[in-house]
Symmetry: C2
Subunit: 179 residues, 2 copies
């Protein structure tokens, strides 16, 4: 339905153009992240905006799937207070809000995972993050390089599309089909 | 900005009206959840729609902050394949998409946490969930009972509002202010 088209259409973008992100759009993305709901409204996060190209290139080496950070116009690091299930769930909600806010402005994004632990320490040192906090994800941000940047390459190492709704949804009980 | 108003305005709703959720809206909420991005597109989730009032009342007793489930028009249980950081982050992204999709239709929602472990076992048995899967959250869904249902009560046990943007965002480094 039209009301949810923006949310449903969100896809990861891994290739970015050089086009500047206007400041008012960057602030709107950050502000939409700031308003994310969290467990007991603890807002257990800090954000770091990274535009320095050397820092972006270094962050791109801090995870097996973080390479796209080197080509991002800027990145947003999600610094979290905890590493329990609720903290990680709050991180996911914050991430989704940031990605959707960017998408609402035609701006693409892709999650870069920072791991294992020695990479997290290295990235944390680069960004001056206290050692009692957690850096698991850095979000690449930029306008898509081209319409092709919105599609997975044919040889992508992950499955495309989504499982059908009838498989995903059970009614009243797990995987119970509708009568 | 106007483009992100829907996302920024999302608030938890804990009191629901009796008004039916039209089927096409329920399916749109579920479908928007289905399209959520996940780590390597693993889609590590199943959803269960619960409308049975006895089941809703029983689920409401399965967590300290799950009481609102008893008054929900229906609930969506998020059944996850894992309990590591990435699974919980994917759960958060899925949750946010479901909540935003409902909100886009004027439908409210609130997260109910299922814990500790004995409550998770009890809720899992109610819903027929295999013991190798995880049920941490069930989402209450319904039209808001009244405009007041959109506001936290004055004696709410959680802080209201959000930390200011200048406090949340650092520039290039953790908590570094803009020059």
């Amino acid at each position: 339905m039209r009301e949810t088209e923006l949310i449903r259409s969100l896809r990861a973008v891994r290739q970015f153009s050089d086009r500047e992100i206007p400041n008012e759009i960057l602030f709107d993305i950050l502000d939409t992240g700031r308003w994310t709901g969290s467990s007991k409204n603890t807002q257990p996060w800090d954000l770091i905006v990274v535009r320095n190209r050397e820092t972006l290139a270094a962050l791109a080496t801090c995870g097996q799937f973080a390479g796209h950070l080197a080509g991002a116009k800027l990145a947003i690091a999600l610094v979290m207070r905890g590493d329990d299930a609720w903290s990680c769930m709050d991180e996911g909600r914050l991430m989704q809000n940031l990605m959707l806010a960017a998408w609402a402005h035609g701006v693409g994004s892709c999650i870069g995972s920072i791991y294992p632990a020695d990479n997290e320490r290295r990235a944390g040192a680069l960004l001056g993050i206290p050692s009692n906090l957690f850096l698991r994800t850095v979000l690449s941000i930029g306008y898509p390089a081209s319409p092709q940047a919105l599609r997975l390459p044919a040889n992508a190492p992950v499955p495309k599309g989504r499982r059908p709704l009838e498989e995903v949804v059970g009614w009243e009980r797990f995987r119970e089909r509708q009568g």
